[in-house]
């Protein structure tokens, strides 16, 4: 059985440690928020709701996800394309160091209440310069780690000419390329706009430009999370259930479509704002909708995998094959719950991107409810499901029967808690409840009375979710330090037949990166050009917390 090389494993362990530490603190911040929003609890020591919200968003949306994903991708590449060389591993360690240093700088400023700007840090709210410098270091660190993956892949391609790379490695490379192209936008805004402005070198900032550069990154960010989950869905889950890869080509094509269409779509987060012409908004709405195709391809692939597996077990009934899936295996059940939640999650996403309907839900708790389905359930549960075998694989411990049961309970609790919390966020949002807002009854306004009850429900759901997080932390610590020693498999599904001839076109990066850049230039060049050539008058900075 192939095992991730020891030194690579160490690197991965450090990533996972930071990720779960962030989950612990960020999850606790979430618990405080749902309590505050009941209106019955006030935070001690004058701690502001918005500071806690900043902690929650930064730690979970940026720190937990990014550290976990790079750790997982490094493990996947090491497992399928062989151990990293000394040089590429060193590069990844340097990247990790920068990410960690940047995270600590930003966290320090947030804790000092000098960066209560939420995880979107919209100008002209102005955080301390150290916060922005920390963010910049974080992004530079991710690029170094990304380069380590790309260099390692290039070395593999040199050794194995005229062969397609292992699927997991290919997927990690696509995700890395997308991350690097997308994060140039936000890093550019941080380095060239926000840092000089917060240091006082520039008196004002171009607000429209900084928002546009943020959302140029902000939407591919969600696909960076999703594609990491899809890596597990396409390649790992089939092996977990004891089956083969459904289709290598389809998986690669889906990932390439995600690469092309995840980036030129940021305007669908800016539909309700001035400064961008409606034609460009509509073009990006069209591009947003194109991701329906690779999304449905992914859904198809999953269910085709499950059904073909169960039918192979000789159950040809229309639906009864369903019961042959391994319902007692947490490595399958926990991510599977995540898949189910992506059905309402994805449908909600289509609603949000539909320009006219967006007017009803924009910046309401509907949106918060939406991404607690996608990132905080679909992606998070997949990551937990991966951790339940990956941690043991690295530490030489096994997922024992009891812990496996506990992990299934964890997934169920998550499903219950999130159904209550996200459901009530969706309903409250339709009634008009604003997101990112501390408890308020707006002076007893009748409309606000309609949604305040749902905030109580959110606290109930949020509390169940917090118990589920405690279970995750317990399981993860147990698997890292206490579980029974043994070999835990790193599952990787394979095709049962080799394709006659590998379709090398799928790894023609000049072509795919070329198309990606072309579509980005098409969707962004003109609106960005006009924002820079005819800028709106700049804004000075405000600290209003």
């Amino acid at each position: 059985m192939k095992i991730v090389q020891k030194q690579d494993g160490k690197l991965v362990e450090f990533h996972l440690f930071i990720a779960f530490f962030a989950l612990a603190i960020g999850g606790f911040a979430g618990l405080l928020q749902v309590f505050v929003k009941t209106g019955k609890i006030v935070l001690p020591f004058n701690i502001s709701y918005y500071q806690v919200l900043t902690v929650h968003g930064v730690l979970l949306a940026l720190v937990f996800t990014t550290f976990f994903i790079f750790g997982f991708m490094l493990a996947a590449v090491s497992r399928t394309a062989g151990a990293f060389s000394e040089k590429t591993r060193l590069l990844a360690w340097i990247g990790f160091g920068l990410m960690l240093a940047g995270t600590l700088m930003a966290a320090w400023m947030i804790l000092m209440n000098k960066a209560t700007v939420l995880y979107t840090f919209y100008a002209p709210l102005q955080a301390h310069a150290i916060f922005y410098i920390g963010l910049a270091l974080f992004f530079i660190g991710t690029w170094l780690e990304g380069l380590a993956i790309i260099f390692h892949y290039a070395a593999w391609k040199k050794t194995y000419k005229n062969m397609l790379s292992p699927l997991l490695t290919f997927m990690a490379v696509v995700n890395t390329i997308m991350w690097i192209i997308a994060s140039f936008g936000v890093a550019g805004s941080i380095i060239f706009q926000l840092i000089p402005w917060s240091l006082g070198w520039h008196a004002t900032v171009n607000v429209a430009l900084s928002r546009t550069l943020f959302w140029y990154f902000g939407h591919p960010l969600v696909y960076f999370w999703l594609l990491s989950a899809y890596m597990a869905w396409y390649v790992i889950i089939p092996k977990v259930i004891g089956w083969k890869l459904y289709s290598d080509c389809l998986a690669r094509l889906a990932f390439l479509l995600f690469l092309i269409f995840s980036i030129p779509v940021g305007f669908h987060h800016q539909l309700m704002e001035p400064g961008i012409s409606h034609n460009w908004k509509f073009i990006q709405v069209i591009l947003t909708f194109v991701v329906i195709i690779p999304s449905l391809m992914t859904a198809f692939s999953m269910f085709a995998t499950f059904e073909s597996f169960a039918r192979y077990k000789k159950d040809a009934e229309l639906f009864s094959w369903f019961k042959h899936l391994p319902w007692g295996d947490a490595r399958f059940v926990v991510p599977f719950i995540g898949m189910l939640f992506f059905i309402p999650g994805g449908a909600g996403g289509i609603i949000n991107a539909s320009s006219q309907m967006n007017a009803v839900v924009h910046n309401t708790t509907w949106i918060t409810g939406h991404f607690h389905l996608t990132i905080s359930t679909t992606v998070a549960l997949t990551f937990f499901g991966v951790s339940y075998w990956l941690i043991g694989h690295l530490t030489g411990r096994t997922l024992t029967k009891k812990i496996n049961q506990l992990a299934i309970v964890q997934g169920m609790l998550w499903a219950i808690g999130m159904t209550i919390m996200s459901g009530s966020m969706h309903i409250a949002g339709l009634l008009g409840a604003p997101r990112r807002t501390a408890f308020t009854d707006y002076g007893g306004a009748a409309q606000a009375k309609k949604w305040i009850g749902y905030q109580l429900a959110q606290a109930i759901g949020g509390s169940i979710l917090f118990i589920s997080i405690l279970l995750v932390l317990f399981i993860v610590i147990y698997l890292a330090f206490f579980a029974k020693k043994g070999v835990q498999e790193f599952p990787v599904a394979k095709l049962d037949r080799e394709d006659e001839k590998p379709l090398l076109l799928l790894e023609n990066w000049f072509l795919w990166i070329g198309i990606t850049l072309f579509v980005i230039v098409f969707a962004y060049a003109i609106p960005l050009y006009s924002m820079i050539q005819h800028p709106s008058p700049g804004s000075s900075g405000y600290q209003l917390w």
Binding site: I292, F300, V360, H362, R436, Q447, S536, S539, Y542
Partner: protein, 161 residues
């Protein structure tokens, strides 16, 4: 490369779904275009000079003649308030909202309706809408703007014409 029959079906279904959704959006876009496009205005303003720049010198509702709309509602947002904080609009009136921010980014949401736009310093937001139902509506800020964000609200009364 051989594409499996089922794979072909899902690709075609995906493509057809996409086309269907997009054509609905496109038709809506054509029919209600002018109302939805208004918030995409690219008019700029110096956020430090809002009080001395027309029409923001006199926030409030004004009757206008010979325009596509009957009234203009000029609003100025600043931490943590709207000017005017309270406004009365005759029922059935077609109103163009013209608004901006004097400091940070704010939201302008009339809760329970589809009036929901962003106000950014340096830019003017416009939206055309018709107030068809009488009643007292809650206006609120739905973008985090500082520690008093949750107190930022106003009242919009739609009254007998």
């Amino acid at each position: 490369m051989k594409v499996h029959k089922l794979e072909k079906i899902i690709l075609i279904t995906g493509g057809a779904t996409l086309l269907l959704f997009l054509s609905v959006l496109f038709l809506q876009n054509m029919k209600f275009g002018h109302q939805h496009h208004a918030q995409s205005s690219i008019k700029t303003i110096d956020p430090k000079k809002v009080d001395t720049t027309a029409p923001f010198t006199a926030p409030g509702l004004k009757k206008v003649e010979k325009k596509e709309w009957d009234y203009e509602l000029v609003m100025v947002a600043s931490v943590f308030q709207y000017a005017p904080a309270e406004v009365e609009i005759p029922v059935g009136a077609k109103v163009k909202i013209i608004a901006t921010s004097k400091d940070v980014v704010h939201g302008l949401e009339v809760a329970g309706t589809n009036i929901n736009v962003m106000l950014e310093p340096g830019l003017i937001t416009e939206k055309i809408t018709t107030f068809r139902k009488k009643g007292e509506y809650l206006v609120l800020c739905n973008e985090y703007c500082g520690n008093g964000h949750h107190y930022m609200s106003g009242i919009l009364k739609v009254v007998d014409a």
